[in-house]
Symmetry: C2
Subunit: 180 residues, 2 copies
């Protein structure tokens, strides 16, 4: 993995991929599948929706840190598997053959197999809506990924795979932040 | 367009498509392109990120209503065009040939050309993060759409088109809300 410019990190989440979110509670690492995410700013600042119904939530709330990892289409069954069991009784890294890798700033692990990993700090938890506001502090991208297509959860048990990419950079020149 | 069950509306936004958001300020209708959206609940409740930098924001804040419309890939140049001009000096419905259609509850118009239209009421604006919390009140889906593939804004001027759909309903049975 190579470090990625923080100014470009919002482009990982803006398209709306399903993500894996890792935490470390001081003893063990855990990972959950999240598809409710939103970019809040280019800084980059993000929001995710989660709460006490996810076992990871306690570690996220207590440590105020996590990693958002972006899986690719070849990891679909891992994404589904991680999202349908609980860290309360399962070592998900072992069960799904995910390789935890130390980050640079936070104690939550990166996932070696993912396309990108975003180390994040919790800015605030808006309890009324279960919105967790996160600031990215360091981001990493796979150096030579074999697969780059991400997955979009529909919410009904189906997933849409990235298709082709259309370019409108010229038409949008005035709206794209400098250097992106 | 036919009315859609509210319980299924979250499946329109969960995959992360770029959307068009319409407002009506009492005199005129306007529309903006938004790609920063998030599902907050199955109820269905959503968040979008917007603020005073968008001309539509004032109408959204004052009327506390909007429509989230889901465009398809054939509308890419409309999505880009709507996102790169301002309602302050442009009638975007006329300029981009969009057909405003009365909704059932809110005064903001539906967009006839879109795959789906979600009539929403503003629950709260979280000013600190420019998060607008919305409740869907009625939703409509095109009866026999010729195109169903949506677009995902990357944020760098490119857009990813929906590719194929993979089914993991069986594996996720315990996680899918009843009736979805």
């Amino acid at each position: 993995m190579r470090t990625m410019k923080l100014s470009k990190v919002f482009t990982l989440l803006e398209p709306g991929p399903v993500v894996l979110v890792t935490t470390h509670d001081g003893r063990r690492s855990n990972v959950m599948t999240i598809s409710w995410t939103m970019v809040l700013d280019f800084t980059p600042r993000f929001a995710i929706t989660t709460g006490a119904w996810n076992y990871s939530y306690r570690a996220l709330r207590n440590t105020r840190e996590c990693v958002i990892a972006i899986p690719t289409v070849d990891m679909l069954d891992t994404v589904v598997g991680v999202g349908t069991c609980s860290g309360s009784d399962t070592d998900k890294f072992a069960k799904f053959g995910l390789t935890p890798t130390p980050g640079k700033v936070v104690k939550a692990p990166l996932i070696q197999e993912c396309l990108a990993n975003i180390e994040c700090r919790v800015v605030e938890i808006i309890r009324r809506y279960d919105i967790v506001v996160l600031d990215a502090v360091v981001a990493h991208r796979a150096s030579s990924p074999r697969e780059t297509r991400t997955l979009h959860a529909v919410g009904d048990g189906t997933f849409i795979v990235d298709g082709r990419r259309l370019n409108r950079r010229k038409q949008m020149a005035g709206k794209i932040p400098a250097g992106i």
